[in-house]
């Protein structure tokens, strides 16, 4: 930084132009959160302390940065491709505006955070999808970031830990977004053929094109209690079949019962379980 810039650098938040309010705190301005499962009202500070879960065991949705803070060792996360975005290739009506709104309200540029971190002192490549950014939908930027992360992990001989949360492929990018399913699947296959370990944790909601690609391609697949996991939307299934859906339809427990996840792990235990799994899958040639 040249000297004159240093002199006139912003010295506090106001000089930087102020902060946009966090969507989560704005929404919960009464400083309490009501649990939809047990109905109790919990002070926000308590919810935060318990990693966004209720005392009854209900898991609230969580934004990606907060999740990283909960799961990775303090200060260990180094973000990669933080500024990667995609242009509006289809010139889709309203897409630019929607992106701008999302970027302001989420304070993220895209629907996934990728990087390198340690969990219980075990190094790994990690991606966390952002459920509040257009429902974590997968466009070209998300597909490219995840593909690059697997390529990086393959080169560095690191395991990959992925938290999925997505409504599926991003409609506004048309076929180009659909193709990201194939692209990420290909990258994961190469990573896997090379002996890499990939662990997915399915969080609420993991649906559509993400379920039908990298969410289901983990060597091990874990899920958060009560997370919605499925391919088609429940409402679409109800309309198509005209039948009442089972109570736990497309919940993590339903997926466990039908043999599509290895286990359900509550947020409280995730750090330990993931750390242990990384340790058990360590490689001789790993840094």
């Amino acid at each position: 930084m040249p000297f004159y810039q240093f002199l006139f650098r912003p010295k506090n938040e106001l000089e930087k132009g102020g902060r946009t309010p966090d969507p989560q705190t704005a929404e919960d301005s009464e400083l309490a959160k009501q649990c939809p499962a047990c109905g109790s009202r919990l002070p926000l500070s308590m919810v935060w302390e318990q990693a966004n879960t209720c005392t009854c065991g209900y898991h609230f949705r969580m934004n990606a940065r907060q999740r990283l803070q909960c799961i990775t060792d303090p200060g260990s996360f180094q973000e990669r491709d933080a500024n990667l975005t995609a242009s509006d290739a289809l010139v889709f009506p309203g897409y630019q505006k929607k992106l701008a709104t999302m970027r302001t309200s989420c304070r993220e540029l895209e629907g996934v955070l990728c990087g390198r971190a340690t969990i219980s002192n075990r190094p790994c490549a990690i991606f966390v999808m952002e459920p509040y950014f257009m429902m974590g939908s997968m466009g070209m930027a998300v597909g490219e970031k995840i593909t690059r992360l697997f390529e990086y992990a393959q080169k560095e001989r690191l395991p990959v830990v992925g938290f999925t949360a997505s409504g599926g492929a991003r409609m506004q990018e048309g076929l180009l977004s659909l193709m990201q399913m194939a692209k990420t699947s290909g990258a994961i296959r190469q990573f896997s053929d090379d002996g890499g370990f990939y662990l997915t944790i399915l969080t609420d909601p993991t649906t559509g094109g993400v379920t039908a690609s990298f969410a289901m391609e983990g060597d091990l697949i874990l899920a958060e209690p009560g997370a919605t996991v499925g391919f088609a939307g429940a409402r679409v299934v109800e309309q198509t079949t005209k039948r009442k859906l089972p109570d736990n339809f497309q919940k993590a427990e339903f997926m466990l019962q039908h043999g599509f996840v290895d286990g359900i792990v509550s947020r409280k235990n995730q750090r330990n379980v993931i750390g242990k799994l990384l340790e058990l899958h360590r490689r001789e040639d790993q840094p």
């Binding site: 930027a141 490219e144 409609m171 699947s185 290909g186 296959r189 079949t241 039908h258 599509f260």
Partner: protein, 266 residues
């Protein structure tokens, strides 16, 4: 004058449009159908088997809609269940074992949305299909002959080359679905179709497919004659690769998709 996007959608869904079995009948000398995924059931929405193309054995996998109402019901309107994709996986595995090229015909509004399909892991079946196709060490060709509906179509489109018929469509979501999400009005499907760029010409423009096959105003014989010629040429040209190169070349094809449109924000 070229047709509008929604006219293409209508044409792709046209009741009398030739289905996969019509193409299989016209293109291949013999076709022996193989049933069942060996795990749960046989899915009539996906037809698979071994065929002969000018004396050469190939594996054919096709999504079939059927022509009459009875056939539609039997084929579930061309909406595959997980066991359909798992049957395809089984046949692809055999194709690789016996060094047969794989040719897929795609015509579906999408993978089936049902309770059973979810219970048996529709998402996992599609993911596994893509992942397996990505690694196949034989030539793979996919042809979208009618509707290429989202993940259900992509599951059989992870190929070395993807071709589309002139009036076929290939889309991330149905125009009706897109319109109801965007404008809460499924009636605006025609506008949505335009926005989604789901025609063969658009897909070619974005570099997502290799060829658009003309339909000669619905002259099926002429289309098939051209297809036969093009498939033979493709087969001939694909054979020159060494065994280990097929998968890498296929991955490279998909790896570059979208990279022209991503950049680091300032």
């Amino acid at each position: 004058m070229s047709a509008s996007a929604y006219e293409r959608v209508r044409a792709a869904r046209e009741k009398n449009r030739p289905t996969s079995l019509d193409y299989i009948g016209a293109l291949f000398g013999t076709f022996l159908e193989c049933h069942g995924d060996r795990r749960f059931a046989d899915d009539p929405a996906i037809v698979g088997g071994i065929a002969e193309l000018q004396g050469r054995p190939v594996t054919v996998i096709a999504i079939e809609k059927g022509h009459t109402t009875k056939e539609h019901l039997y084929r579930n309107f061309g909406a595959p269940n997980p066991e359909g994709y798992r049957k395809a996986l089984r046949l692809m595995g055999q194709a690789e074992k016996f060094h047969r090229p794989v040719i897929c015909f795609v015509d579906t509004s999408g993978a089936f949305c049902g309770i059973g399909a979810e219970e048996r892991g529709q998402g996992q079946a599609i993911a596994e299909s893509m992942s397996t196709m990505m690694g196949l060490q034989v030539p793979v060709l996919s042809i979208v002959i009618g509707e290429g509906g989202s993940g259900g179509a992509l599951a059989l489109c992870v190929a070395d080359q993807v071709w589309m018929l002139e009036n076929a469509i290939y889309s991330v979501i149905s125009p009706e679905g897109c319109a109801s999400i965007l404008w809460r009005d499924a009636e605006k499907a025609a506008e949505a179709a335009e926005c989604l760029k789901l025609t063969a010409d658009s897909a070619l423009e974005f570099g997502l497919i290799e060829e658009v096959i003309p339909e000669f105003q619905g002259n099926h014989e002429q289309t098939c004659a051209l297809l036969q010629q093009k498939i033979s040429a493709w087969l001939h040209q694909s054979q020159s690769l060494h065994c280990g190169q097929y998968a890498q070349r296929r991955f490279n094809r998909f790896r570059k998709i979208g990279t022209d449109f991503v950049q680091n924000a300032k």
